[in-house]
Amino acid sequence: MNIIDIQNLTKYYNKSRGIIDVSFSIKEGEIFGFIGPNGAGKSTTIRTLLNFIYPTSGSATIFGKDIVKASKEIREEIGYLPSEVNYYDDMKVKDLLIYSSKYYKKDCSKRLVDLSERLDLDLNKKIEDLSFGNRKKVGIVQALLHEPKLIILDEPTSGLDPLMQNVFFDMLLEEKEKGTTIFFSSHVLSEVQKLCDRVAIIKEGKLIKVETMENLSKSHFKNVTITFEKGKPFEIELDGIIQKSSDKKSLKLLYKGNSRALIEKLNELSFKDLLIEEPSLEEIFMHYYEK
């Protein structure tokens, strides 16, 4: 079953572009990453899904319900962490979390303490006095507290130290175990790599690709580094070479194609050393962005 289903969603702010013709769906129980540089339209998509803003055209459903017509109903079962966490400055952490939980007809008092302890969050501090990272923790607890069916996280890890990031990722995986669907946006690729089942890549408002993590990292991309013999540089022409860079000592290729063809080509040449490796996700993404 699709938890989120987005059909040709387009959003313009007056005349400036938000997102254009975005379509994808997220299955139940999935951790779905939404990747793109700043200003690509990640937050616009999320805000449209939550009906903070109205779509210019296209439509979307969450839990099979229309995001505009059934927004309130949908939000009963959603936990949302905004990219910038801002709360009422007159409240203590505890006040905010209790206030938040009262909107859902559930008793969350035990979970409140549990989650806060795990994130090392002081419940009695005023939110005003919290650092950026600690404020983010309040946001995380707030989003997970009522055990929603769908958790939407907009750039969740910014401001968290690596230790807390791990705790947070563990929490998300636990939620996934329970069958919760998680949709999160990020421009930090390594965190997507660790967690997500699938990712959607967005650039300048347009969806470029939806791919399983597995396929993406094993996308037949090869990083090839050829070290020349002294004073004998050469060039290679071959189908499937996406990027080329060379200096006096070596030639670097980003190659997508048949490995055998590459080896055969290399066989004709003499070189000192050869390194063929999986490219990092960053390199794959950089490639998408540059297109």
Binding site: Y13, K72, Y103, Y104
Partner: protein, 266 residues
């Protein structure tokens, strides 16, 4: 009613301060009256010493200091109409725009609450606060009037001059609330609303002074609830009531429509 409770709690401090200040000032003014009343003759001479335009502007031509009600209408009524309106405008222009300004609206809108519920509960918080302020002032008036011996204030008149400022405040509150649904920046909302209060107050004075500008009274809500008029005619003129009711209703309804359609970005 979660949001209503929250708003009420959040604004309670302001309500207490404004009630204490306005109520306190009125009580102080009324407490002086018994002293005044003793020297009635001197007082009337003093009144005549004022320039005519000034007595007109403040409605002193229709009322005198010979009754406590007249004294209140001239000296005390302004506190609850003008300052009460300033309070109403502050509350109404802030209550919704604050969420956008401090970006807490993202939190609120992600909860299962409809925009209509947000508007309803915030409006209810405004009305509740204004009711409490006006009830406190009415009680203060009741005490203040009883301090003097000639406290022959008719119940009907008393109710009218207690109700009129409330309707006035609601009018200003509705106007500034609807502005806060349109304008993005919170600070400019408060400035605009405050300007409306003071400019219309200014109009009410001008319209009293000069016959040339007397039609300005139709665009000044302060004239609609003029104490001298209410006390002498024992009514708020139906036309004025209709205008204020229209502003309140249109403002309220427009708020729902505008906020429903609004793209909320922070």
């Amino acid at each position: 009613m979660l949001l209503f409770k929250r708003e009420f709690k959040r604004n309670l401090k302001g309500l207490i301060i404004w009630s204490a200040v306005i109520g306190g000032l009125i009580l102080l003014i009324l407490a002086i009256y018994p002293q005044f009343a003793k020297d009635q003759e001197k007082l009337n001479i003093m009144l005549q010493a004022y320039p005519e335009s000034m007595t007109k502007a403040f409605g002193m031509d229709k009322l005198g200091f010979d009754t406590v009600l007249g004294f209140y209408a001239i000296e005390g009524y302004l506190m609850i109409t003008l300052f009460g309106s300033v309070y109403a405008v502050m509350l109404a222009s802030n209550i919704l725009s604050k969420e956008a300004n401090e970006k807490t609206i993202e939190f609120l809108l992600s909860k299962p609450i409809s925009r209509e519920q947000i508007i309803s509960q915030k409006l209810l918080a405004i009305v509740t606060n204004l009711v409490i302020l006006n009830v406190i002032v009415a009680i203060v008036n009741l005490i203040g009037f009883n301090l003097s011996k000639n406290n022959n204030v008719e119940t009907e008149t008393f109710l009218l001059i207690s109700l009129a400022p409330f309707i006035l405040q609601l009018t200003f509150a509705a106007a500034s609330f609807v502005i806060s649904c349109i304008v993005k920046k919170s600070r400019s909302i408060f400035s605009i609303s405050l300007a409306i209060v003071f400019v219309t107050y200014f109009f009410s004075i001008i319209s009293g002074i000069s016959d040339k500008y007397k039609n300005l009274k139709y665009i000044s809500p302060f004239k609609y609830v003029d104490a001298a008029d209410i006390i002498t005619s024992k009514e708020i003129r139906p036309l004025y009531l209709i205008i204020m009711a229209a502003v309140i209703i249109i403002g309220g309804v427009a708020s729902y429509i505008l906020y429903h359609k609004k793209d909320i970005t922070v």
